[in-house]
């Protein structure tokens, strides 16, 4: 912006708003593409994905088609505040039916990844990662009565009974974004 001596600068708010918005729009869709939804821009909003989505069926706000539309028009804050992507069952009905190979499932999960990146997540969302790092299992139980009851050894032949394997898994996790973002304690 040109500044003339002695004259206070005039900020053209309309201009600022326009360029900022352009930057912003670019950013959301680009991030979603970068986070795994490579074919986002192929969406033509036909709604096939919504017709078959369990989340749309039970009334979640930002089901696949609507989420994609919102991303394409550059919405962000509203989306970061909503838990819909975390309810996605990853069933991939949408991927199967999409005539444009958009894979709405990937958009839903790219949105999760964006929320993780922006730390717009609940502690519940990283509970599984913590358990994965600690035990090698997202679902883990210390009580082993059920295994004994059905005649199995107390521990399954997994990272649960194999310290070396657990350390291998931890090494892998330490070299992923999970560690980069510092989401869970890793000793």
């Amino acid at each position: 912006m040109e500044v003339m001596e002695g004259v206070p600068p005039v900020i053209n708010l309309t201009e600022v708003a326009r360029t900022e918005k352009e930057e912003f729009e670019k950013k959301v869709s680009e991030l979603i593409i970068e986070f795994g939804a490579e074919n986002l821009l192929a969406c033509m909003q036909c709604g096939a994905c919504a017709s078959i989505c369990p989340l749309a069926r039970v009334g979640f706000e930002w089901y696949n088609k609507k989420l994609i539309k919102a991303i394409l028009i550059g919405m962000k804050e509203e989306l970061l505040d909503d838990s819909t992507p975390w309810a996605c069952v990853a069933c991939n009905r949408c991927t199967e039916i999409c005539p444009r190979q958009v894979s709405p499932f990937e958009v839903m999960f790219a949105m999760r990844r964006l929320m993780v990146e922006e730390l717009a997540i609940s502690t519940l969302a990283i509970e599984g990662d913590r358990s994965l790092y600690e035990h090698g299992h997202a679902v883990y139980m210390t009580g082993r009565e059920a295994r004994k009851k059905v005649g199995l050894p107390e521990k399954p032949p997994t990272t649960d009974s194999d310290e070396k394997a657990l350390q291998e898994l931890r090494t892998i996790l330490k070299n992923t974004k999970l560690a980069e973002l510092g989401l869970i304690p890793m000793e």
Binding site: V58, E96, H137, T159, E168, K177
Partner: protein
């Protein structure tokens, strides 16, 4: 063995790495025990894949980062690849996560390279050969319906089964080693049930979601709406004697949520739920306590009926 076609695998003795996941070994170990009983009896050798971990499940690494997801999956796939065998899973989520990750790695060299850079730190390399098969497909295509028919001591004549293949048994068909002819009109589980003598008719909500997984943890009320509709459809349309699924998550949801709905007075009926490997194990004569001993919705009556009137 690792092969692209089934005809290749039939030439040799069948051997697979038994991929357990999390829910089966910790929540429903009777499903694990059922697999450990039926496969050797059907001449399918199983390897424990010692040191396997979570697949990783949808709520963990797949929600954080694509490369991280693929790296955890690749380590598990390596355990099979190193022994020259494919993995075999009875949990649809494991089947889905492992095969989607493999599909990403095979179709994107950049992802594959990054994954192998990470795997190098633990002295491993994934070449994309080993994949994960689903136990139901192994039974259907590799073992075969005829052999299943020959192996059973009890048949299910006169029983009606509502089948629940589950989402990741079917979609996205592009990533799976075995595909239904029409992924929106699945036949394999129905055929497997018919091989045991039961009737397994179509019902309107056959491919509908059970509401398990992330939906249940995020919004239980909406999750129970889906499972209630599904159960009511099963009761009204085919009045099934039991529900049979190929997914451990569907098993837990249909069994567990059903009991909750009864307690809340939202449904008034009770339909026992089994994983297909459990049903087959019962028909083959294995100990019900070991292969089907863990449930919320009672199974005693249906098991008694099978063992008393199904004797061949």
């Amino acid at each position: 063995m690792i092969s692209e076609t089934v005809s290749e695998t039939l030439k040799e003795k069948l051997k697979f790495g038994l991929f357990l996941g999390c829910n089966i070994p910790f929540n429903r170990p009777d499903v694990e025990q059922a697999m450990r009983k039926i496969f050797p009896a059907l001449n399918v050798e199983i390897d424990d894949l010692v040191g396997q971990s979570c697949c990783p499940s949808w709520g963990t690494m797949p929600s954080v980062d694509v490369v991280g997801w693929c790296a955890v999956a690749a380590r598990n796939l390596c355990l099979g690849e190193e022994k020259g065998i494919d993995l075999m899973a009875a949990c649809n989520s494991c089947y889905g996560s492992l095969n989607e990750a493999r599909h990403k790695m095979l179709n994107n060299p950049e992802i594959m390279n990054k994954v192998n850079e990470i795997l190098a730190k633990i002295g491993k390399k994934y070449e994309g050969k080993a994949k994960c098969r689903h136990v139901a497909w192994v039974l259907y295509r590799d073992v075969g319906l005829e052999k299943i028919k020959e192996s059973i001591k009890y048949s299910l004549d006169g029983l009606t089964i509502a089948v629940q293949p589950g989402c990741h048994f079917l979609w996205p068909s592009e990533v799976y080693p075995d595909k239904e002819e029409d992924p929106f009109n699945p036949k394999v589980l129905r055929e497997l049930c018919k091989a045991l003598g039961a009737d397994a008719p179509y019902y309107t909500k056959l491919i509908d979601c059970c509401g398990m997984g992330a939906l249940r943890s995020t919004n239980p009320e909406k999750s129970f709406t889906l499972v209630k509709e599904k159960l009511e459809c099963i009761k009204e349309e085919i009045d099934a004697d039991l529900i049979v699924t190929t997914c451990s998550s569907c098993l837990i949801q249909l069994d567990d949520a059903q009991e909750r709905l009864r307690k809340e007075g939202k449904i008034s009926f009770s339909i026992p739920v089994l994983h297909y490997v459990q049903l087959l194990a019962l028909c083959m004569g294995f100990d019900p306590q070991q292969v089907a001993g863990i449930c919320v919705t009672p199974r005693d009556e249906i098991i008694k009926r099978i063992l008393e009137s199904g004797k061949r």
